[in-house]
C-alpha cells in the first residue's frame, strides 16, 4: 500500500472517531451510575454496567415538579411529529403538483413567496402565532403545534415536491387530460405512483425537523404538554443542584433515538434530499 493511501485511511479513521465521540460518550454514560461519573469524568469506561438509568429516565425521573420521566414528552413528540409530518407532506405534494403541472396565472409569484418561508426565521412568526393560537384556544396544546408545523412545513414540502414534479414530462399528462381526467384523478393515477422517492425524502426531513424543533415547543407549550426537546432543556436546568448524568445520558439517548433510527434506515434518501437542488 502506498504511503498516501495510509495517510488517507489514517485521517478518515481519526476523524470518524472524533465524530463518534459524543455519541459514544452518551451511550457509555447511560450505562454508568451517576456517582461513578461524578467521581471520575464524563469520558470513561464503566466499572459496573447498569441499566437502571433507562428505567429511571423513561418514567421515574423527576423534573419540573413531576416524577414521570421523559415518557409523556416522548409521546407528545410522537403525537406532534407524526400527524404534522403527514399533513404537511400531503399539502406540499398537492401544492407542488398544482404549481409545477397545473400552471396558472401568478404561479411563479406564489411559489416564490412560499419558498421564502423556508428562510424566514421562526422569530418573525412568534407573536402572530401567539395571537392565532390564543384565538383558536390552542395555546398549550399539541394540536396547536401540529397546526404550526403543518402550515409552516408547507414551504419546505412544496419546494421539494415542486422541484421533483417539474421533471415529469408534460406529455404524460396531456394524454390523460384529453381523456377527460381532472386535477384529482391525474394526481391519484399519474402523479402519486411516481412520487414515492420524493415523498420518502420529504417525510424523513419533515419528521426529523419537527421532532428536533425546539423554539415553538418551548414557547407555546408548558408542563406536561411539552415535546421532548423542550423537556430536555428543563431537565438539564432541574438537575444542576444534584448532577444525575447517568439518567440524563439515557434520557438524551432516548430522545435522539427516533431521528437517529430514521436516519440510519433512510440514509440514502437523507443524502439525496440534502443534495437535491444544491448541485445543479
Amino acid at each position: 500500500m502506498k504511503w498516501s493511501r495510509v495517510i488517507i485511511y489514517a485521517l478518515l479513521t481519526a476523524l470518524a472517531l472524533v465524530f463518534l465521540v459524543p455519541l459514544g460518550v452518551v451511550v457509555v454514560n447511560s450505562l454508568r451510575s451517576s456517582q461513578e461519573i461524578a467521581a471520575t469524568s464524563m469520558i470513561g469506561w464503566p466499572r459496573h454496567l447498569t441499566f437502571a438509568n433507562y428505567s429511571q429516565a423513561w418514567n421515574k425521573f423527576c423534573m419540573a415538579e413531576h416524577c414521570w420521566g421523559i415518557e409523556p414528552y416522548m409521546l407528545n413528540s410522537f403525537t406532534l411529529a407524526i400527524p404534522a409530518t403527514i399533513l404537511s407532506t400531503m399539502f406540499g405534494a398537492i401544492a407542488g403538483y398544482s404549481i409545477s403541472l397545473w400552471r396558472f396565472r401568478g404561479d411563479q409569484l406564489v411559489f416564490g413567496l412560499v419558498t421564502l418561508g423556508v428562510f424566514l426565521p421562526e422569530q418573525m412568526k412568534l407573536i402572530p402565532w401567539v395571537v392565532v393560537l390564543r384565538d383558536l384556544s390552542l395555546m398549550n396544546t399539541i394540536s396547536g403545534l401540529i397546526l404550526i408545523h403543518t402550515i409552516q412545513g408547507m414551504s419546505f414540502t412544496t419546494l421539494f415536491c415542486r422541484n421533483y414534479y417539474v421533471g415529469i414530462p408534460p406529455d404524460l399528462l396531456k394524454a390523460a387530460r384529453i381523456d377527460g381526467a381532472g386535477f384529482f384523478r391525474i394526481f391519484r393515477r399519474i402523479i402519486l405512483p411516481l412520487s414515492p422517492p420524493i415523498l420518502i425524502v420529504t417525510v424523513i426531513f419533515q419528521f426529523t425537523g419537527i421532532w428536533n424543533e425546539f423554539l415553538y415547543g418551548v414557547t407555546f407549550t408548558s408542563g406536561g404538554q411539552q415535546p421532548v426537546t423542550a423537556a430536555l432543556i428543563a431537565l438539564s436546568a432541574a438537575i444542576t443542584s444534584e448532577p444525575m448524568y447517568g439518567e440524563q445520558s439515557a434520557a438524551v439517548l432516548i430522545a435522539a433515538l427516533p431521528t437517529l433510527l430514521v436516519y440510519l434506515f433512510g440514509g440514502r434518501y437523507f443524502m439525496s434530499g440534502l443534495t437535491a437542488g444544491a448541485v445543479k
Binding site: 459524543p22 464524563m42 413567496l113 426565521p121 422569530q123 426529523t208 432543556i233 438539564s236 436516519y263
Partner: protein
C-alpha cells in the same frame, strides 16, 4: 402554461343537466385544492412578516398594543448591551462556524473521493450529527467541554494536571465552544454537498488533468475545485443563514452565558419577547434579524438568477 391553455381549449363544449353541475363542482373543488393550501402557505409568510414588522413600530409590551411609536423600539433595542454583544458574537460565530465547517467538509469530501473502502459507513458517521437535534448536541457538548466533567477532567485525571480547556466558562472564549459544537453538527452537510459536486464532474475533465501530469493536490486545486465553485457559494450561504438562526444550540450549550457573553440575535429576540414581555422591542429585534438574513440571501438569489439566465443563454 401551454398545457393548461390547451387543456381548457380541448374541453368539450356543452354538456347538459347533472353533468354541468358535476363539472362545476369538479372545477370548484380543483380551484379549492389549488388555492387553499397555496393561499395559506403564502399568506402565512406574507401576513406574519408584515404583522411582526408592524408590531415592531408600536407600543406593544405584554400584549399587542397598536399605538404607533415609529423607530423608538429600534433605538431602544440597538442600545442594549445584549444586542451589541449578540451581533459581535454573530460575526465571530458566523465566520468561525461557516469557514471551519466548510474546510472540514471539504477535507472529508476530498478524502472520501479517493475511492476508499467503507465509504458508506464513513459517510454515515460524518452525517449522523445532522439527524440529531441541536438541543441534544448542545447538551452533550456542554458535558464534554465542562472543565470539571469532560475533556479537561479526563486529561487532568490521566496525570497531566496542568492541562486547561475551560473555554465554556470563560466569557471571552465561550463563543468558540459554540463554534466547536456547530462545526461538529454541520461539517457533514458541507461534505455531502462537496462530495456530490465532485461526483457530478465530467470524467474526461479528470482524465485530461491526469494526462497533463497534474498530481492529486494540484488537480483538486487547479481543476476540480474551481469547477464546482458554485457549490462553495451555496454551502457558504446555507451555513451562514443557519448561523444567523442559531438558537437551540446555544440555549442548550451555554444558555447565552457566562453572563451574556454568548448572546446571539435569536436569544435577544426571545429575551425581549418572553422574558421581559416587551413585544414591540422583541419584534424590532426580530426584524433586525430578518434584515441580516436579507443581507446574506438577497445577493445569493440574484446570483442564482444570473446563473440560470446565463445557462439558459448558453
Amino acid at each position: 402554461m401551454s398545457l393548461a391553455l390547451q387543456a381548457r381549449e380541448s374541453r368539450p363544449g356543452r354538456v347538459r343537466g347533472a353533468d354541468v353541475w358535476r363539472r362545476r363542482l369538479g372545477t370548484a373543488l380543483t380551484e379549492l385544492a389549488i388555492w387553499v393550501p397555496l393561499a395559506i402557505a403564502a399568506g402565512n409568510v406574507v401576513v406574519f412578516t408584515a404583522w411582526t414588522t408592524w408590531v415592531s413600530f408600536t407600543a406593544s409590551s405584554l400584549m399587542p398594543d397598536y399605538t404607533w411609536v415609529g423607530l423608538r423600539n429600534y433605538w431602544a433595542v440597538t442600545r442594549t448591551a445584549n444586542f451589541q454583544i449578540a451581533y459581535v458574537n454573530l460575526v465571530i460565530f458566523g465566520l468561525g462556524f461557516v469557514l471551519l465547517a466548510m474546510a472540514l467538509g471539504l477535507l472529508l469530501a476530498i478524502l472520501l473521493d479517493q475511492r476508499v473502502h467503507g465509504e458508506n459507513l464513513l459517510r454515515t458517521i460524518f452525517l449522523y450529527p445532522l439527524a440529531v437535534s441541536f438541543v441534544v448536541t448542545g447538551t452533550v457538548w456542554s458535558w464534554l467541554l465542562n472543565p470539571g466533567l469532560g475533556i479537561q477532567k479526563l486529561v487532568n485525571d490521566l496525570g497531566w494536571t496542568g492541562f486547561r480547556f475551560d473555554w465554556l466558562v470563560q466569557s471571552d472564549k465561550a463563543i468558540y465552544t459554540v463554534i466547536i459544537a456547530g462545526v461538529w453538527q454541520s461539517a457533514g452537510f458541507a461534505m455531502a454537498l462537496f462530495l456530490a459536486g465532485l461526483r457530478s464532474l465530467d470524467k474526461d475533465l479528470i482524465k485530461a488533468a491526469q494526462i497533463d501530469g497534474a498530481g492529486p493536490f494540484r488537480m483538486y486545486r487547479r481543476v476540480l475545485l474551481p469547477t464546482i465553485w458554485p457549490i462553495f457559494v451555496t454551502v457558504f450561504v446555507i451555513l451562514l443563514q443557519s448561523a444567523i438562526k442559531t438558537f437551540d444550540l446555544v440555549r442548550a450549550l451555554t444558555g447565552g452565558g457566562p453572563g451574556i457573553s454568548t448572546m446571539l440575535p435569536t436569544l435577544v429576540v426571545y429575551d425581549f419577547m418572553f422574558q421581559r414581555s416587551e413585544l414591540g422591542r422583541g419584534s424590532a429585534a426580530a426584524v433586525l434579524m430578518l434584515l441580516s438574513l436579507v443581507v446574506v440571501l438577497a445577493p445569493y438569489f440574484l446570483f442564482m438568477r444570473w446563473r440560470q439566465q446565463r445557462q439558459a443563454r448558453a
